[in-house]
């Protein structure tokens, strides 16, 4: 029994010392990442686990390469980043590359002499799918000292990096310590040392995780397992760090360095090497990350932003906004080359995401990560449009009748008129296509109406592609004087005026009393055509067509009413016939209706309908024609129920010309007339 206990204790101590108790299995990344004879240094995997950048080194060369996951999920063949590897003719060494959150920027350090104690931090942007020539970061990041191991926080606002630190307690290892610098208003702040115990005197390879709070690093510490070990520290607020915790399931007596975590896969990638790092081969390894060492959950939103019409990729801006304060958290951008974007959203938060491109619409939506249980990547594509359709309706403000009008569009800022394709889809209805990104003034005008318009501001946030607006136009009015007079006495006659707006087909009947001058004033719409009709008792009906005009119109008419008496003759001016025929034209019917109405009002009245011709043609012919014509009118009246005994008809041919001389076409036309004569009342 005792021996069993002793044996168990021995085994436990051995396992503890060897570090294999509670250890994880760390796998070396296979080909094509691991290449025989090459060191794989400082691997960095992107947050979504789809991209990896590292240094490939042998005794002859040291280059920075990147690899991407294939469709099958394995790492593809690493490709040299030529823009960086060949950016200078002088020999140089690249160290510790890392990506920004959406793999559009690379940060790395560069030194010209491996023995030199100076190195600087550079960055390279990816434009149109290609890495650009590196640019050295300015002061105060880079100094005469050794700056290396750069890593940008997911929001792009904090850069973590290291500077050399001479630690007498650590032998055979060039120690560094970790700094941070904030980027604000296009300027980097003075780098600040991370507080102890985050820094312990020999700390490096800071890699901020996607959650923006968990900083992975490598460190040589007294309590470590030997060599460089992996740790993580949590930044719980801007000011407060929790002491680093060793990732002891991965740490061994070897060197574990350059940890980077893919949140989506929950894996950690690292560089592993024998104790003497300088002389030994470095390899890239990975392992699953136990939850207690994992960063907080995140959502990586990515996709493609394109033009809705052409489907071409768009360079767009993706803003992450705090919905409560409407403050900008950070912005990401899509590449014009492929329209791809990627943003990282932290857990337990609400975001407003605003996607826009100059001259294009916006897509704005809210996204909550409050209930996420695991990190994941979500694909969302967006399309933006740069034109909108405006459906315009122009109508009369009083009667709401649609109005065909003149529509003009102006650039509100420049003031000039814009020629655009204006499509008339119906009476008073227009369709305009307007480019987004400008302010427009749109006006409608029509003769005799007050012009009107509105401002359409498309320079701001446009989210829909179709709008509808109405423009109401108010017609000017004209005071029109109508004299209603007895043609014999000249006195005013009170009548029931029937006013028909021929333009709008609106009929108004109004009883009017004339003033001392026998006049009455009515307010009529400027420019409309009106038929004024009266059929007062004791008088022949009278109608006339007027057109009130605010500009230059006379705006008055006298209706001289003929009293109904024996021998009164009334010319029925609107009664016309087909050429050489006694067939009534359809335009005669309104006048015939008035005549019918007159006879209905005066049922005992006896009339003679007479027809007259001009002086062209033979007497016999004209007589026959006029007789037939008078007969046509008579037939019409009888058909309408008038008493045939009260109506006679007679043709006078050319014997009674009324309008002289008859050598003008105008007078001839007027002489071709029909009259009504009252024979008795």
């Amino acid at each position: 029994m005792k021996s069993r206990i002793v044996f168990t204790v021995f085994v436990a101590i051995y396992l503890l010392n060897s570090g294999t108790l509670f250890s994880q299995i760390v796998k070396i990344l296979p080909a094509p990442i691991t290449i025989p004879g090459y060191s794989v240094k400082s691997p960095y995997v992107s947050y979504d686990g789809q991209n990896m950048v590292f240094i490939l080194e042998n005794k002859d060369s040291s280059i920075v390469v990147e690899s991407q996951r294939t469709i099958d999920g394995v790492w593809g063949k690493p490709k040299s980043i030529t823009a960086i590897n060949k950016f200078d003719t002088k020999p140089f060494f690249i160290e510790a590359p890392s990506y920004n959150q959406d793999v559009t920027e690379l940060y790395f350090s560069l030194l010209y002499d491996i023995k030199d104690s100076t190195a600087d931090i550079y960055s390279s942007k990816k434009i149109a799918g290609k890495w650009q020539k590196p640019v050295k970061l300015p002061k105060p990041i880079n100094t005469a000292q050794f700056e290396s191991d750069p890593c940008l926080s997911p929001d792009g606002k904090t850069l973590f990096f290291v500077r050399n630190f001479d630690n007498p307690e650590i032998k055979d290892f060039q120690c560094t310590v970790i700094y941070s610098s904030k980027f604000s208003d296009s300027v980097w702040s003075e780098p600040k040392l991370l507080p102890s115990p985050v820094n312990s005197g020999c700390d490096g390879a800071p890699r901020m995780a996607a959650d923006g709070k968990t900083l992975y690093m490598s460190s040589i510490r007294e309590e470590g397992k030997g060599g460089s070990d992996l740790y993580f520290a949590k930044n719980i607020t801007e000011n407060v760090w929790i002491s680093p915790i060793a990732i002891d399931t991965l740490n061994t007596e070897k060197n574990e360095m350059y940890p980077s975590v893919s949140s989506v896969e929950n894996t950690i990638c690292l560089e592993t090497s024998e104790k003497n790092r300088r002389k030994s081969l470095k390899l890239a390894a990975y392992a699953n990350l136990p939850n207690k060492f994992s960063p907080e959950k995140v959502v990586i939103l990515n996709g493609i932003i394109s033009d809705k019409n052409s489907s071409k990729p768009l360079p767009a801006r993706v803003d992450l906004i705090d919905p409560n304060s409407s403050t900008l958290i950070y912005s990401a951008f899509s590449d014009a080359f492929d329209g791809k974007y990627s943003i990282v959203l932290q857990q337990e938060k609400n975001y407003r995401i605003d996607i826009s491109s100059a001259g294009y619409s916006h897509v704005i939506f809210d996204y909550s990560t409050e209930k996420i249980k695991e990190s994941f990547s979500e694909k969302r594509d967006f399309t933006l449009f740069n034109e909108v359709v405006l459906l315009l309706s122009v109508f009369d403000s009083e009667i709401f009748e649609p109005l065909k009008s003149e529509v003009r569009i102006y650039d509100n800022d420049l003031g000039n008129e814009i020629t655009l394709n204006l499509n008339e889809t119906g009476k008073g209805k227009y369709n305009l296509i307007l480019p987004a990104g400008k302010k427009y003034r749109i006006t409608a005008s029509k003769k005799r109406f007050e012009p009107n318009g509105f401002l359409l501001d498309l320079s701001g946030v446009v989210q829909f592609s179709e709008f509808e607006r109405d423009i109401e136009l108010t017609q000017a009015k004209v005071d029109f004087k109508i004299g209603i007079l007895d043609s014999e006495t000249g006195e005013g006659v009170d009548v029931e005026l029937e006013i028909t707006n021929l333009t709008t087909n609106e009929r108004i009947t109004k009883k009017v009393k004339t003033d001392a001058d026998g006049k009455v004033t009515v307010s009529l719409r400027d420019g409309d055509r009106y038929d004024i009709s009266v059929s007062p008792k004791g008088y022949a009906f009278f109608n006339t067509v007027i057109e009130p005009e605010s500009e230059g119109g006379e705006n008055f008419v006298d209706l001289k009413l003929q009293p109904l008496k024996q021998e009164t003759k009334v010319e029925l001016s609107d009664i016309t016939f087909e050429f050489n025929s006694a067939d009534l034209n359809s335009s005669s019917f309104p006048e015939l209706e008035r005549l019918t109405k007159l006879m209905q009002i005066n049922p005992e009245m006896k009339i003679e309908i007479s027809a007259h011709t001009d002086d062209v043609g033979a007497q016999n012919y004209n007589l026959k024609l006029s007789t037939k014509r008078a007969q046509s009118v008579l037939n019409y009246l009888i058909d309408k129920g008038m008493n045939a005994k009260n109506i006679s008809s007679k043709g006078y041919g050319k014997s009674q010309p009324k309008y002289l001389p008859e050598n003008t076409e105008e007078n001839r036309s007027r002489n071709r007339r029909v009259e009504m004569k009252i024979l008795s009342l």
Binding site: M1, I5, T8, V9, A12, L16, F22, P195, S196, P197, S200, S219, R221, E223, Y231, T237, N239, V240, W241, I242, S243, P244, I245, A246, I247, K292, F293, D322, N324, S325, S326, T327, R352, I364, L391, D396, F400, P402, K429, F454, L455, L456, D457, V461, V462, E466, F467, E468, R469, T504, E506, E578, N580, S581, A582, D583, N585, K624, L625, K628
Partner: protein, 737 residues
């Protein structure tokens, strides 16, 4: 065994605990205090937290943590980082409490670590009482800060939250309704709820903002002194969709309250008024439709007409409205139905002149066309989106979407049925009008005529059929008539007759016309003129045809004869009273010969020929009309040739009976200006053409093959009805191939 397990477990647990993931090192408080004195709060706080784990009972740890936490509590922006403010306030209170508690255990030790706090001791050195008093005052201070900042933050966040709600709900409304007019018309409870919520939330926004503004005056925070400006939502779906930044000193807020108020105002005034008017007008329309449909034949009914301004009022809020289409359809239906109830369509009334009926039918056909067109447009517009605009109205009056579809279909069937019935009536009227032309014999009901013919004919029984034919009848104003035709004698000789009848139809005078004993004479047509009648007479002897126009007085006595130098068989005669011209059409060598036509225009006074023109046609003429100065000649044809040699054939077939119709237009001098065939693969033939107006001609006929002589078979053939204009363009036809 148990002991082994216990031991193993104990060792395992010990290892587990000892294999701590924490990179702990031992801190010396003196070192930490050094860091505190540098003013590096971040490093200090981190190390203090670490030391606290190492020694949780050291009071100064909490003291220093409290000081830093309090500092940070007041550094963070409570409007943007309130959780951090809250966090550090909490920590401050916690650490102050813990410091106080641990202080009491220390009994005056470690007082050198309190010197950085600026405590003013009562005596020379800092005593515990001094520290405790300091802690208490800080606690009061932090609580006061907490109270104010919490209140301000609450007001601020509430204001923001309510405003954000407004934006979110407004966005939902924008997504649900494509345009503002749909909102005016929308009556869904969910919409009303959303509008109310927007308004209420906006009111809350302003209320809380007011509270915030008041609070921030009393307890200023940083440099905040926000004011807001209200902006009107002018364009739906453009304005009002963006959130506002409440941190700016000048905030622009969309005025959702005004927007909702405007909508409600329009809904309660114009939309409500429209709704009432719509229901009212609909009732009137439905009632009218019912009354007319159930009513008797009458010409007293006035046309029904909707006030156009009513339509405008609907369309102001409802572009391309389904509702206005429904009203227009119903208006057209009423007027069409009124039309079908006219006495002109009454088969019991036969005294109406045919040309008046023709004008009436043209009007009816136009109305039917209008109904069909409007019904089609209406049916296309029956969509859920359109129904939503007046859900209640459609549900109550038309049983919703299904009901509307059924209504449209039912009206289509109904109008077709009414129109077909009208066509049938028209056909009846047409046969009545053409009874003499179509009849194959003198009806034995014409007793007076039969009796009169008996006198002319050698004494034989006249009850046998086919004793003769009336070819034409001229009716005078006083209802007296002139009847012309021919009768067959017992020896099969054919003689023409001319008979006067009185207003009651009794023959008052009859005369026979025979050129000589061997001739076959037929009176083919007659017209009246001021002085009497013209009668066109054909005499055929030994296949030689002669034509003459008898000029008769009003009593039927012959005044003179006009000999015509043309030997073809006469088909038709028209008299132009105004120009005193007689127009005759001749064709074929005998009655059955359908080849070629000659049109002759003759001056009645001096018998001079105005013009004489030919048509190389295989067919018959059925009408000639004068349109303005031109002559329109209507023919049934199987083929005809044009001057340049081309031939036009009937598409119905080659047989004489498989005819189509053609129109030939001659000018006043007899030149052929235009020929227009109305082709069809089905046989049809014209019987009559009428001038409806200076620009419209109505052609009436029958569908099928032309087989003259069998009236009862003709009556089974469907009516052919078309309208052409003065350019011979077909405007309407009641059937197509």
């Amino acid at each position: 065994m148990n002991k082994f397990v216990i031991a193993f477990s104990a060792i395992f647990l010990a290892l587990l605990i000892s294999v701590s993931a924490e990179a702990q090192r031992k801190f010396k408080y003196k070192d930490i205090y050094e860091v505190i004195l540098t003013g590096d709060k971040e490093s200090s706080y981190t190390q203090l937290l670490a030391f606290q784990k190492q020694d949780p009972h050291f009071a100064n740890t909490y003291f220093q943590l409290a000081l830093i936490a309090k500092f940070w509590a007041q550094q963070y922006d409570p409007l943007t980082d309130f959780p951090m403010v809250e966090f550090f306030i909490y920590n401050t209170k916690l650490y102050l409490g813990l410091a106080k508690l641990k202080m009491l255990d220390e009994s005056g030790r470690n007082r050198e670590y309190y010197e950085n706090a600026g405590i003013v001791p009562k005596k020379k050195k800092i005593q515990t009482e001094d520290i405790l008093a300091f802690l208490d005052s800080n606690l009061v201070e932090i609580k006061n800060y907490e109270q104010n900042v919490t209140l301000i933050s609450n007001y601020f966040n509430k204001s923001v939250e309510y405003y954000n709600n407004c934006v979110i709900i407004y966005k939902q409304v924008n997504a649900d309704y494509n345009n503002i007019k749909d909102i005016y018309l929308g009556s869904e409870p969910e919409l009303a709820e959303k509008l109310l919520k927007i308004k209420n939330d906006f009111d809350s926004t302003l209320l809380f903002f007011k509270n915030f503004s008041t609070a921030i005056v009393k307890y200023p925070i940083l440099n905040y002194h926000q004011k807001y400006e209200l902006k009107t939502i002018e364009t739906y779906r453009l304005d009002g969709l963006t959130h506002s930044n409440f941190l700016k000193n000048e905030i622009v807020l969309w005025n959702y309250a005004t927007w909702v108020n405007e909508i409600n105002k329009i809904k309660s005034s114009q939309i409500s008024a429209n709704s009432k008017e719509i229901s009212k007008i609909n009732k009137i329309v439905v009632e009218n439709l019912r009354m007319v449909a159930d009513g008797n034949y009458s010409d007293e009914r006035k046309p029904f007409s909707l006030d156009e301004k009513f339509i405008y009022r609907i369309e102001k809020y409802d572009n391309s409205s389904m509702l206005t289409e429904l009203f227009r359809l119903n208006e057209a239906l009423i007027n069409f139905t009124i039309g079908t109830k006219s006495n002109y369509n009454n088969p019991s009334i036969d005294k109406i002149p045919f040309f008046k009926r023709a004008r009436y039918f043209h009007d009816l056909v136009s109305k039917k066309k209008s109904v069909d067109s409007l019904n089609h447009i209406f049916e296309q517009k029956i969509t859920s989106e359109n129904i939503r605009k007046y859900t209640e109205f459609y549900q109550n009056n038309y049983s919703g979407r299904t009901g509307l579809k059924e209504y449209s279909f039912r009206q289509k069937i109904n109008t077709e049925s009414l129109m077909n019935s009208a066509y049938q009536n028209l056909q009846t009227f047409l046969f009545f009008d053409l009874k003499y032309k179509l009849s194959d014999t003198i009806s034995v009901a014409d007793k007076s005529l039969v009796s009169a013919l008996t006198v002319l004919k050698p004494k034989t029984s006249f009850l046998k059929p086919k004793i003769g034919y009336i070819t034409d009848v001229v009716e005078n104003e006083n209802k007296t008539k002139l009847n012309v035709g021919y009768y067959i004698e017992q020896n099969s000789q054919i003689s023409a007759f001319v008979a006067n009848s009185d207003s009651l139809g009794n023959i008052t005078k009859i005369r026979s016309q025979k050129t000589n004993s061997n001739s076959s004479d037929k009176a083919v047509a007659a017209c009246s003129f001021a002085g009497g009648y013209y009668v066109l007479l054909n005499s055929n002897e030994a296949s030689q045809s002669k034509n003459v126009i008898l000029v008769l007085d009003k009593s039927g006595n012959e005044i003179k004869r006009i000999k015509l130098e043309i030997n073809e068989f006469p088909r038709l005669m028209k008299y132009d009273e105004i120009n005193d011209n007689i127009l005759c059409v001749f064709g074929g060598t005998n009655e059955n010969d359908q080849n070629n036509l000659t049109i002759m225009n003759l001056n009645a006074l001096d018998q001079s020929i105005v013009f004489q023109s030919k048509i190389a046609i295989k067919g018959q003429v059925f009408e000639v009309l004068k349109m303005d100065k031109n002559f329109f000649v209507f023919c049934n044809f199987t083929s005809y040739q044009l001057a340049e040699g081309s031939e036009i054939r009937s598409q119905a077939g080659n047989a004489d009976s498989q005819t189509n119709i053609a129109l030939f237009v001659f000018d006043g001098t007899g030149n052929l200006m235009q020929n227009t065939p109305y082709l069809s693969t089905q046989s049809y033939f014209g019987l009559k053409a009428l001038k409806l107006s200076s620009n419209k001609i109505n052609i009436l006929g029958l569908k099928g093959e032309y087989l003259p002589g069998n009236l009862s078979e003709l009556k089974n053939k469907p009516l052919f009805y078309s309208i052409v204009d003065a350019k011979a363009t077909e405007l309407f036809v009641n059937w197509h191939d």
